[in-house]
C-alpha cells in the first residue's frame, strides 16, 4: 500500500512538468509558433533550483514556509489518487474528502503568502483566488460525490472499481454532467483560460501569477512544480474517475506497466483537449467568472441529484 502511494507520487512528480510543457507546446503549434519543447519546464525547474532566493524584508515565516506546505500537500494528494493502481481491499487511502481538503489547504497557504509581503499585486491575487476557490472547491466535492453515491463509498479506488464493474454507468447523467463540472473546475483551479491566463503577467487579469509574483529561486521552483502537480492531479481525476479503463486492479508488473501507459495516454489526450480549448476561448472578464463557476456548480448539483434520486 505504501509502495502504491510511493509509485503514484513518483509518477506524478516526474510527469507533471512535462504535462505543462505539452500544453504549452500544443498551444504554440496551434498559434503557428514553434514553441519550446515539451520538456522545457524541467530545464526551468532545474535552473530555478540553482538560483538564490530573494525574500522581501517585510515577509514573515508564512512566506518562507508556504512553498513547502503547498508542494507537500499537493504531493500527498497525488499519492492518494488512483493514478495507476486501484487495488481491491485497500480502504485506507484515497479518500475524496482528504483530497479536497488537502488541495484547499495548499490554496489557503498560498493565499496567505500572497498577502504576507504586503505587495499590492499579491493581495489582489489572493482575494481573487479565494473568490474562485470558494466556488470551485464545493463544485469539485459535489461532482465527485455524484460518482461516490452509486459506488457507495467516498474511496476513490472504490469509485474506479465500481465503474470498471458496471461499464454502462459511465454513460449515466451523473457521470457525464459531473465530468463537465469537473472539467470547468480543472480550468479554474489550475489557472487556465478562460478563468486565468497562465502565460501572462498582465496585472489586471492575473490570479495565480499575482500571488506568486514575490517568489524567486527554489521557492518559485517549488510553487511552479506544485501547480504543475495540481494540474496533473485534476487531469488524472478526470481521466481515471470517468474513464477508468486501464487502471491496474492488482499489483502484478504487466498490469502496472499497462496502467502507467494508459494514464499517460489519457492525460496526454486531456492535455491536448485543454490546449485546443484554451486556444479557442477568450479570457472571461473577472466579474463573469462567477457565472461560469456557478454554471459548473449547477452541473454538479444536477449530477448528484440524478445520481441520488435517479437510481
Amino acid at each position: 500500500m505504501v509502495v502504491t502511494a510511493f509509485l503514484h507520487g513518483l509518477v506524478a512528480l516526474l510527469v507533471a512538468p512535462a504535462l505543462v510543457g505539452l500544453i504549452r507546446w500544443v498551444k504554440a503549434r496551434l498559434q503557428s509558433r514553434r514553441g519550446a519543447a515539451p520538456w522545457q519546464p524541467y530545464r526551468e525547474l532545474a535552473k530555478l533550483l540553482r538560483k538564490e532566493r530573494v525574500v522581501s524584508q517585510h515577509a514573515s515565516w508564512v512566506f518562507r514556509v508556504t512553498p513547502y506546505i503547498l508542494f507537500g500537500t499537493t504531493l500527498v494528494v497525488s499519492c492518494l489518487i488512483p493514478t495507476v493502481l486501484a487495488p481491491t481491499g485497500v480502504q485506507v487511502f484515497g479518500d475524496l474528502i482528504a483530497v479536497v481538503y488537502l488541495l484547499i489547504l495548499g490554496t489557503f497557504w498560498l493565499a496567505l503568502a500572497g498577502l504576507d509581503p504586503g505587495s499590492a499585486f499579491g493581495g489582489m491575487g489572493s482575494s481573487r483566488e479565494m473568490t474562485v476557490a470558494a466556488l470551485t472547491e464545493p463544485t469539485m466535492a459535489i461532482a465527485i460525490f455524484a460518482l461516490a453515491l452509486p459506488a457507495g463509498s467516498t474511496d476513490l479506488g472504490q469509485i474506479v472499481r465500481r465503474t470498471l464493474e458496471m461499464p454502462t454507468s459511465a454513460l449515466g447523467p451523473g457521470h457525464v454532467l459531473a465530468f463537465a463540472a469537473l472539467f470547468i473546475v480543472t480550468l479554474a483551479e489550475s489557472g487556465r483560460l478562460p478563468v486565468d491566463n497562465p502565460s501572462t503577467h498582465l496585472e489586471l487579469t492575473m490570479i495565480h501569477e499575482a500571488m506568486v509574483l514575490e517568489y524567486s529561486g527554489p521557492y518559485l521552483a517549488l510553487v511552479e512544480w506544485a501547480s504543475a502537480l495540481k494540474l496533473f492531479v485534476f487531469c488524472v481525476l478526470l481521466a481515471n474517475l470517468f474513464v477508468p479503463w486501464g487502471v491496474a486492479l492488482s499489483a502484478n508488473p504487466t498490469a502496472i506497466v499497462v496502467g502507467i501507459a494508459a494514464v499517460l495516454l489519457k492525460v496526454a489526450v486531456i492535455a491536448v483537449a485543454l490546449a485546443v480549448f484554451e486556444t479557442r476561448v477568450a479570457k472571461l472578464r473577472l466579474f463573469r467568472v462567477p457565472e461560469l463557476l456557478s454554471a459548473s456548480f449547477v452541473l454538479s448539483v444536477v449530477a448528484v441529484v440524478s445520481a441520488f434520486l435517479g437510481r
Partner: protein, 218 residues
C-alpha cells in the same frame, strides 16, 4: 447492449436539459439558437432511441420530423428573425445569471422530487428520463419568465415544446402520429404568430424589450 439503452436515453435527456440551461447562462442570442438546435437534435436522438427500443416505426418518422422542422426550419426562421431584429445580446435579464442558474438547479431538484412517485411505479426502461423531461419544462418556463427580449422568450417557448415532446417520448413512447403532427403544426403556427408579433414590436419600439410594452398603457 440492452443494459446501455436506458443509460443512453437518460444521457440524451440530460443533453436536452443542458441545452435548456444554456440560455440562462449565456447573453449571446446566437448561442441561444445554437443551443435550441442541439436540443432538437438530442430530442430526435432520444425519440429514435425509444423507437428502436420499443420497436415503434412511427417514432423514426417523428425523429426525422424533429430534425427537419425543429432542428432546421425553426433554426433558420430564428436566425432570420434575429438578423432582422438585430439584437445580438440579451438585455439585462430580470434575474441575474448566477441566481438564475441556482434557480434552475432548484427546479431540477423539484422536478426529481415531484416525479419520484411516478418513476417508482413506472416499469418502462425509459422511466429514468422522466424527471429530466419535467425539469426541461420547468427550466424553459423560467427562461420565458425571466428574459426581457421577445426573441429570448420565443426560444424559451420552443424549448418548452421540446420538453413536452421529450416527456411524451419517454413516458408513453410517444403519442399517435396524427397527434404528433398536430403538435408540430401547433408549434409552427405559434412560432409564426410570435414572429409577426416580434416584428411589430420591433417596428413600433425599435427594440424587442418587452418592458417597453408597458408604455402602451399611457
Amino acid at each position: 447492449m440492452e443494459a446501455a439503452f436506458p443509460q443512453l436515453c437518460i444521457l440524451g435527456a440530460s443533453a436536452v436539459l443542458l441545452a435548456a440551461i444554456i440560455p440562462l447562462w449565456r447573453r449571446h442570442v446566437p448561442a441561444y439558437i445554437v443551443a435550441f438546435q442541439w436540443q432538437s437534435f438530442a430530442l430526435a436522438f432520444v425519440t429514435a432511441l425509444v423507437g428502436y427500443m420499443a420497436h415503434i416505426r412511427e417514432l423514426y418518422i417523428v425523429a426525422a420530423l424533429i430534425v427537419a422542422i425543429r432542428g432546421m426550419l425553426f433554426v433558420r426562421l430564428l436566425r432570420k428573425l434575429q438578423a432582422r431584429v438585430g439584437e445580438i445580446t440579451e438585455l439585462k435579464p430580470l434575474v441575474n445569471i448566477p441566481t438564475s442558474l441556482l434557480i434552475a438547479a432548484t427546479l431540477v431538484v423539484i422536478a426529481y422530487a415531484a416525479t419520484r412517485p411516478a418513476v417508482l411505479v413506472a416499469s418502462s426502461p425509459t422511466r429514468g428520463a422522466m424527471p429530466l423531461a419535467i425539469a426541461v419544462i420547468l427550466v424553459s418556463m423560467f427562461t420565458v419568465a425571466s428574459r426581457k427580449t421577445a426573441i429570448g422568450q420565443v426560444i424559451g417557448f420552443l424549448m418548452l415544446e421540446n420538453g413536452i415532446a421529450l416527456l411524451s417520448a419517454v413516458a408513453s413512447y410517444g403519442v399517435p402520429l396524427t397527434v404528433e403532427l398536430g403538435l408540430f403544426l401547433d408549434a409552427l403556427l405559434g412560432f409564426l404568430v410570435m414572429q409577426i408579433l416580434v416584428f411589430h414590436i420591433h417596428d413600433a419600439f425599435d427594440t424587442t424589450d418587452v418592458e417597453q410594452l408597458s408604455r402602451l398603457k399611457h
